[in-house]
C-alpha cells in the first residue's frame, strides 16, 4: 500500500531542475523552509549577540569607544538592551527551535512527505522574514529603535514623551505582531500535520518526544498569545490614536499590560523550552543506547507543565502592587511548576543510568543542556517566592537566572539539534574534534559570563543601568573586576563561535559521507535518504513500534527502527 501511495506522488517535479529561486526562496518543501528559518534565526542571533557585546563592553568599560559601535550613549544602551532581548526570544529561540526544527522534524519523524499546508508554511516564513526586516528598520527611523525593554511596560512604551522613540516603539510593536501571525500560521500546520498525517500504524504513543513537545509548544503559544495580541492593539492605539488603555490619568491601568504581557510571557518560556528539552531527550536515548525512561510520564509531565504555566504569570508582578494574598497564590503555583520540570530532569538521568554512553558532540550538548538548565531552574525558586523576589527583583540575579534558562534553551539546544541532525540534513558528518573544541569554548566562557552576574545581583546591582560609576555602592573595584570578567568571557565565547562555522564549512566541503543512519537511531527520519529529497522517503514507512527500543534483550542489534517489521 505504501508503495502505491508513493508511485502516485513522485511523478512530476521531483527530478526536474528547478531554478534557484523556485528551489530555495519560493519553495514549499518543509526542509527548505526549515533552512530558511534556521539561517534567518542564526543571522538574527549574530545581531542580537552583537548588541550584547556592545552593551557588555559599556558595562565593563564605561564611556569607552566600543569597537564597531562607538560610544554607547544612554539612549543607545536602552535600545540595544531592548532589542537584544526581543531578538533573542522572538527572532532566535522561536524561529530556530520551533519553526526550523518543527519544520524539519515533524513530517520526517511521523513518516510523511510534507506539511499538510505547504503554501501556508511558505507564507508563514515570508511573514516572519518581513517581521525581521521591519524590526531592523526601526533602527533607522527618527528617534531610533524602541528603548522601553522587551516587556514594553507602559507608560514608558505608550507615549513618545517618555520613550523618546516616536516611531521606533510602533515599528517594534508591528514587527512583533507580524512575527506572531507567522507563528500562528506555522503552529496550525504543525498541530494538524502531527494530528492527521502520521504514518500508518503510528499511534499517539509511537510519536517521538520531540514531535510531541513541538506540538504542545505550538498549542501553548496559540493559547497564550491572544491576550497579548489584544494588548498590543491597545498599546498601538495608545501610541497613535490617543486612547488611554494603560494611562491612569485617563482611566486606564498600566498593570493591565503586565497581566496581558506575562499571561503570555511566562508560557512563552515553556514554548521555547519544550523543543529544546525534547531535542536533548532524543539525543540522550540514542547515545545512551537505552529506552527513554518513562516515556508516557514525560509526555504527561509536559502537558502538566503547559497547563500549570498559565497559572504563574503574576510572579513577575510581586513588586507591582498586587494584593499579598494573590502573591501567595502565585508563589505556590510557581513552586509547583518546578515539580514537573524537575521530574523531566530525573527522567533523563534515569535514562542515562546504566547506559553505554557515547560522549560525542551532540551528546555533550544534550548533557550540558540539562546541567546548565538545572542552575537556571534552581535559582528560579528564589524568584518564584514572593518574599525573596522583592529583594532580588530587577537585579542582575534575575538576569543571570533567566540567562541560565534561555542560554541552554536557545544556544545549547540549537547546537545539540544541529550537530545531531546535521548528517541527515546535509548527508555529511561533522568533525567531532572541532565540535568538541567549539563545545568547550562555548560552555566554559558561558559560565564565566553569568556566575559573576549572580554575585553582582546579590550585591544589589540593578538591571538596566547604563553606568554604575554613578552609584558609589555599585562602583567598587571588585565589582568592576567581575564586570570585566563577564565581558572578557563573552569576547572569548564569541571568538569560539568561529570554530563552529569552520566546522560547517569543512563538513560541507570535505565531510565524510553520512549514510542514512549514522547514529543507529530508531526514529523514522533516519529511514529517509540523507539528505532527503522532495517527498522525503523512497517508500513511505509503516510503523510497528515506539521510537525508543534500544538494546532490546531479544535482538542482536542494539536498535530497532520503528518501521522494521517484527
Amino acid at each position: 500500500m505504501a508503495t502505491a501511495e508513493v508511485a502516485t506522488h513522485h511523478d512530476d517535479t521531483r527530478h526536474h531542475d528547478e531554478g534557484f529561486v523556485k528551489k530555495y526562496l519560493w519553495s514549499t518543501d518543509h526542509k527548505i523552509i526549515c533552512f530558511q528559518y534556521m539561517i534567518t534565526g542564526i543571522a538574527m542571533a549574530l545581531i542580537g549577540g552583537f548588541f550584547a557585546y556592545a552593551f557588555r563592553m559599556q558595562l565593563a568599560f564605561p564611556g569607552m569607544e566600543v569597537p564597531l559601535w562607538g560610544v554607547v550613549t544612554p539612549g543607545d544602551y536602552n535600545a540595544l538592551v531592548t532589542n537584544h532581548g526581543t531578538i533573542m526570544i522572538f527572532w532566535v529561540a522561536m524561529p530556530v527551535l520551533i519553526a526550523a526544527f518543527g519544520n524539519y522534524l515533524i513530517p520526517l519523524m511521523i513518516g510523511c512527505d510534507d506539511m499538510v499546508f505547504p503554501k501556508i508554511n511558505r507564507l508563514s516564513y515570508q511573514i516572519f522574514l518581513l517581521s525581521a526586516l521591519v524590526l531592523i528598520s526601526s533602527f533607522f527611523v527618527e528617534g531610533g529603535a524602541f528603548a522601553g525593554a522587551w516587556t514594553a511596560y507602559p507608560p514608558l512604551s505608550s507615549t513618545a514623551e517618555y520613550s523618546l522613540t516616536p516611531l521606533g516603539s510602533s515599528i517594534w510593536l508591528i514587527a512583533v505582531a507580524l512575527e506572531f501571525i507567522a507563528f500562528l500560521l506555522g503552529g496550525i500546520n504543525f498541530i494538524t500535520t502531527a494530528m492527521n498525517s502520521r504514518a500508518p500504524g503510528m499511534k499517539l504513543y509511537d510519536v517521538p518526544v520531540i514531535v510531541w513537545f513541538i506540538v504542545i509548544a505550538s498549542l501553548l503559544f496559540m493559547a497564550s498569545v491572544g491576550p497579548l495580541v489584544a494588548g498590543a492593539i491597545m498599546l498601538l492605539f495608545d501610541q497613535n490614536l490617543g486612547t488611554g488603555f494603560f494611562d491612569p490619568t485617563r482611566g486606564g491601568d498600566p498593570v493591565l499590560w503586565q497581566h496581558l504581557f506575562w499571561f503570555f510571557g511566562h508560557p512563552e518560556v515553556y514554548v521555547v523550552l519544550l523543543p529544546a528539552i525534547g531535542i536533548s531527550a532524543e539525543i540522550i536515548t540514542v547515545f545512551a543506547r537505552k529506552k527513554l525512561f518513562a516515556y508516557r510520564t514525560v509526555l504527561n509531565t509536559a502537558i502538566a507543565t503547559g497547563v500549570l504555566s498559565f497559572t504563574v504569570w503574576a510572579h513577575h508582578q510581586f513588586v507591582s502592587g498586587i494584593d499579598p494574598r494573590m502573591a501567595h497564590v502565585f508563589t505556590i503555583s510557581t513552586l509547583l511548576i518546578s515539580v514537573p520540570i524537575a521530574e523531566m530532569v530525573f527522567v533523563y538521568i534515569a535514562t542515562l543510568y546504566g547506559g553505554s554512553i557515547t560522549l560525542n558532540t551532540p551528546m555533550l550538548w544534550a548533557l550540558a543542556f540539562i546541567g546548565e538548565f538545572l542552575i537556571g531552574g534552581v535559582t528560579g525558586i528564589f524568584l518564584g517566592a514572593s518574599g525573596s523576589d522583592i529583594y532580588f527583583h530587577d537585579t542582575y540575579f534575575v538576569l543571570a537566572h533567566f540567562h541560565y534558562t534561555f542560554f541552554p534553551i536557545a544556544i545549547i539546544g540549537t547546537f545539540a539539534g544541529i550537530t545531531y541532525w546535521w548528517p541527515k540534513m546535509t548527508g555529511k558528518m561533522m568533525n567531532d574534534t572541532l565540535g568538541k573544541i567549539h563545545f568547550w569554548g562555548t560552555i566554559i566562557p558561558f559560565n564565566f559570563i553569568f556566575i559573576p552576574l549572580f554575585v553582582l545581583g546579590l550585591a544589589g546591582q540593578h538591571r538596566r543601568i547604563y553606568n554604575y560609576e554613578n552609584f558609589p555602592d555599585l562602583a567598587l573595584d571588585w565589582m568592576f573586576d567581575l564586570r570585566i570578567m563577564a565581558t572578557v568571557a563573552l569576547l572569548v565565547m564569541i571568538a569560539f563561535q568561529v570554530v563552529f562555522f569552520v566546522n560547517v564549512f569543512v563538513s560541507l566541503r570535505n565531510g565524510k559521507k553520512a549514510g542514512n543512519n549514522p547514529w543507529k537511531a530508531n526514529t523514522l527520519e533516519w529511514v529517509a535518504p540523507s539528505p532527503p529529497g522532495h517527498g522525503n522517503f523512497e517508500e513511505l514507512p509503516t510503523v510497528y513500534r515506539g521510537p525508543y527500543e534500544y538494546s532490546h534483550p531479544d535482538r542482536e542489534e542494539d536498535y530497532w527502527p520503528q518501521n522494521e517489521p517484527a
Binding site: 510523511c112 510534507d114 492593539i233 488603555f245
Partner: protein
C-alpha cells in the same frame, strides 16, 4: 500536486476542518483578551454605564439581525455544497457576503453619527473599548467576506466544495463574537 500528508486523516477528521478549529481557537483568545480587559474595567468603573447609555441599541439590534441572517445563508450554502450543487452554494455565499456588506454600512453610519457627536475613540475608556472591540470584529467581517468571495468563485465551478463548509464555520464564529459584543457594548447600561 498535493502532498500525501494532505490526504491522510489519522485523527478521523478532515484536515481543513481541524485547521479552521485551530484558527478559531487562536482567535477566541484574542477576543477573550479584549473582552476580559473590558469587563474588568467595566466592573471597577461604574461611570462607564453612563457612557454606554449613548450607544444606539436599535442599530445594534438591527445589525445583530443582519449578521444572523447572513449566517443562515452560509448554512444554506453548506447544504447546497453537500449536495454537490456548487452553483447554488456560490449564489448563497454571495448572499452571505451581501449580509456582511449591509452590516458594515450600518456600522459606518452608526460610527459616523457617534463621532460627529463627539464620542471619539479617545473620548474615554468606554469609547476606546467600544471602537477597538467592534473595530477588530469588523476587520474579521471584512476578512471573512474576502475569503468567501474566493471560495464562491471556486464553488461556482464546482471546485473545492469542502471549503464552503470551512468558510461557513469561520463566519459563524464572527457571528458568535458579535453575539458577545452586542450585550456588552449596547445592552448593559
Amino acid at each position: 500536486m498535493r502532498p500525501i500528508a494532505n490526504t491522510r486523516s489519522a485523527a478521523g477528521i478532515p484536515t481543513g476542518r481541524l485547521a479552521v478549529w485551530w484558527v478559531l481557537a487562536s482567535e477566541i483568545v484574542i477576543f477573550g483578551g479584549i473582552l476580559a480587559s473590558y469587563i474588568m474595567f467595566r466592573l471597577s468603573h461604574g461611570i462607564w454605564a453612563d457612557y454606554a447609555a449613548n450607544t444606539n441599541t436599535m442599530i445594534g439590534a438591527t445589525n445583530t439581525f443582519v449578521l444572523l441572517t447572513s449566517s443562515l445563508a452560509a448554512v444554506a450554502a453548506h447544504a447546497a455544497a453537500e449536495r454537490g450543487d456548487g452553483k447554488l452554494a456560490a449564489r448563497r455565499l454571495v448572499y452571505t457576503i451581501l449580509g456582511g456588506g449591509i452590516f458594515l454600512c450600518i456600522k459606518s453610519y452608526e460610527w459616523y453619527t457617534e463621532i460627529t457627536h463627539g464620542f471619539t475613540i479617545s473620548a474615554n475608556g468606554f469609547w476606546a473599548f467600544y471602537y477597538t472591540a467592534a473595530g477588530v470584529h469588523a476587520s474579521h467581517v471584512i476578512a471573512g467576506m474576502i475569503l468567501m468571495a474566493f471560495v464562491a468563485k471556486d464553488a461556482a465551478k464546482n471546485a473545492e466544495l469542502h471549503r464552503v463548509e470551512l468558510v461557513g464555520i469561520y463566519w459563524h464564529f464572527v457571528d458568535v463574537v458579535w453575539i458577545f459584543l452586542f450585550p456588552l457594548l449596547y445592552i448593559a447600561k
